[in-house]
Symmetry: C2
Subunit: 416 residues, 2 copies
Amino acid sequence: MTNQISQMHDEPKKVLVLGGDGFCGWPTSLHLSKRGYEVIIIDNLSRRNIDNELEVESLTPIRPMGERIKAWKEMTGKTIRHLNIDLATDYDRLYQTICDEKPHAMIHFAEQRSAPYSMKSPRHKRYTVNNNMNATHNILCAIADSGLDIHLIHLGTMGVYGYGTAGVKIPEGYLDVEVKTEQGERVEQKILYPTNPGSVYHMTKSQDQLLFQYYNKNDQLRITDLHQGIVWGTNTEETSLDERLINRFDYDGDYGTVLNRFLMQAALDYPITVHGTGGQTRAFIHIQDTVRCIQLAIEHPPAEGDLVMIFNQMTETHRVEDLAKMVKELTGGEIAYVPNPRKESAENELHVKNDLFLSKGLNPITLNKGLLEEVTDVARRYANRADLSKIPARSVWTKEQQAGVPVQIEAVTDQT
Amino acid sequence: MTNQISQMHDEPKKVLVLGGDGFCGWPTSLHLSKRGYEVIIIDNLSRRNIDNELEVESLTPIRPMGERIKAWKEMTGKTIRHLNIDLATDYDRLYQTICDEKPHAMIHFAEQRSAPYSMKSPRHKRYTVNNNMNATHNILCAIADSGLDIHLIHLGTMGVYGYGTAGVKIPEGYLDVEVKTEQGERVEQKILYPTNPGSVYHMTKSQDQLLFQYYNKNDQLRITDLHQGIVWGTNTEETSLDERLINRFDYDGDYGTVLNRFLMQAALDYPITVHGTGGQTRAFIHIQDTVRCIQLAIEHPPAEGDLVMIFNQMTETHRVEDLAKMVKELTGGEIAYVPNPRKESAENELHVKNDLFLSKGLNPITLNKGLLEEVTDVARRYANRADLSKIPARSVWTKEQQAGVPVQIEAVTDQT
Ligand SMILES: NC(=O)c1ccc[n+]([C@@H]2O[C@H](COP(=O)([O-])OP(=O)(O)OC[C@H]3O[C@@H](n4cnc5c(N)ncnc54)[C@H](O)[C@@H]3O)[C@@H](O)[C@H]2O)c1
Ligand SMILES: NC(=O)c1ccc[n+]([C@@H]2O[C@H](COP(=O)([O-])OP(=O)(O)OC[C@H]3O[C@@H](n4cnc5c(N)ncnc54)[C@H](O)[C@@H]3O)[C@@H](O)[C@H]2O)c1
């Protein structure tokens, strides 16, 4: 993989990073800025506001946007701009920014991305649907309206498929099916891989796919949809340059991913709690590989007239129980098995097709190689900042569960 | 078909008619009220406000809601209540109403339903997505949150399939497909019939399906989704009782359906304008049959634990050109062929499965039998109220069309 943009002699290519203050968006912004892209972040800081609402904080001491950008300038001489625009409501400023800046590509991270948060209450369900649908639609509508040829890259999730579909390998977005006509003939069709979302959050990602399909068909927008696995790890080459550039590490019951929560439990000498049998299989990718994948996606846009390009963005799969064992081995913690707050199969296998990124020369960071660093440089280092009471997951999926759920359950499935 | 509700001796069953001031909702409300149901209409009158925006009016002199309800009381002694609630934004009042009234069923007509309107400008696209997604989601969320066992009946459209799918009969919602596993085995799956929506409006109906699928799965809501053809005709038994009860007749370029616009052109001695070759085939149902179908749907709810029941709600199909000829024959008008403002195939066949409603004994009103009444009792009778300048369709589907579209085109495809 090359770290250069193709036309270094030209003007730097401009990218808008939507949701660039978030866990994936911030390191992506730095990665691209470092490689010569001109980066403009659009983010309404809603994720930080949700931290306020939930009375939690990133384990790592993330700095305000202004300080982050200033530190980056100091360390590298490079300028990143930030616009505080609510993409779900402020269409006019989004549209004006696109027309003024004429970006080469837009990377869309700006959605409410926690499944448990999306299930907390009617207000949270409604916020998730409203925010995610309107943000995605506004972005598509504004690009079409601008008349500019902008490549849109969106982050989806493999979770839309509900995991594990009768031994069928999760393809990269489309499914070839045969249907019978009235005459009994078999006809081949290529369809969007049918989804089976397991939370309101995942449901909005299925709806996003319909929006992409439509704007691609009607307005010929070039779109890449990356169906991402669970992102692990905290820092990248760039966020490690200075503590003021440090990336977010969520460990609370709503936003903490399964692995982060295992790490925290171990660092704090808590039992590592596995939901159900731990037989659920999940796909993973390190944050450093996420940012490299996104650069790859920018450099390989779909051709004019192509369907939405859908890729799986993951590098390895693990059973939840095996993750717990890995963490236990590194830290010497204990494993405890607790009931599962989700409606999902107890066990599943996961077969994922991810040829593309591997074929482009991505040499992934495996859990094997990267996990120890997370334990020492993040979980143990900042353990004193942790609020133990925030680790349990209290969101449940249905009313019946609400009535019966033991409040002390430590939920540690994946959240996104 | 029986016109009685099953338990006449019990309390009258209560239904909420969402969008009950609209073209389908108003006659449905009267039909059900007449048959002993207690009817509460929720409608924010947005459709009348859109008439103001577009500077058009129903050809028929529809009365304000208060007067409609008063006339109904005078004619039948029956009470219908109306609550002005915006379902897309006012969740709390919706939820409170559901908890207070504990309806047996809710019928959801309350969406922006014109494809050309949904394509007029970014503002119209965004309004359609925002209104339709939030209204449908709020309704589902509120039913789930109430914990009540309420049957939700929604009006969808067969238009989501993009019409004419390689000779495959449009099934009632689901498709049996065979997929190959990694081992080369063939596995049978039942999936939501894949959609191919042709406008932002149709796209929201595809998204609705995902919302229904999800809330049915997670919260066991009972849901019937009626994929309706183009509704024709104006009045039903009940709306004919008194002129103050008259139903809406839209003939403008945005909300007028293909047939209504043909009728108006003929009544005003205009040429009947057919888009393209007129080879597009569409499905139709008379408004009187719509209201009977909805009563049938109320009386045959899905069982607990059933998937979303999806039925096609139509009674006959016609090629657009043949419709024009029918109208011509009744009125002596002339046919003119003009370019098509839509992105769609010039010709298509349509094979629709609609066994269920026919099997329940529905004896439909055919165009053959009902069209003359529309000509004499509606189109000619109120022709003097028509604003000729509003008949042309000016919405186009893409920017390129916008540049080139001749403004005098008379667009007469179906709108919903
Ligand atoms: N983190 C993962 O493991 C993971 C896995 C699969 C997919 N994804 C997807 O990747 C994307 C980014 O995830 P993340 O972990 O970085 O999430 P995050 O919550 O850390 O970042 C999202 C950012 O978007 C911003 N945002 C949200 N709504 C906005 C709006 N209306 N206007 C402007 N800004 C808005 C938030 O303030 C936040 O900074 C999400 O779409 C998520 O679904 C993430
Ligand atoms: N008319 C047709 O030929 C046809 C065909 C197929 C499907 N349908 C579907 O049937 C349904 C009803 O169609 P119609 O022709 O009666 O449309 P209509 O526009 O006449 O009626 C819709 C009613 O819903 C109300 N409404 C819209 N948004 C609302 C909101 N947020 N809160 C409260 N009220 C709201 C409007 O004020 C209006 O009175 C629609 O969903 C439409 O897609 C209609």
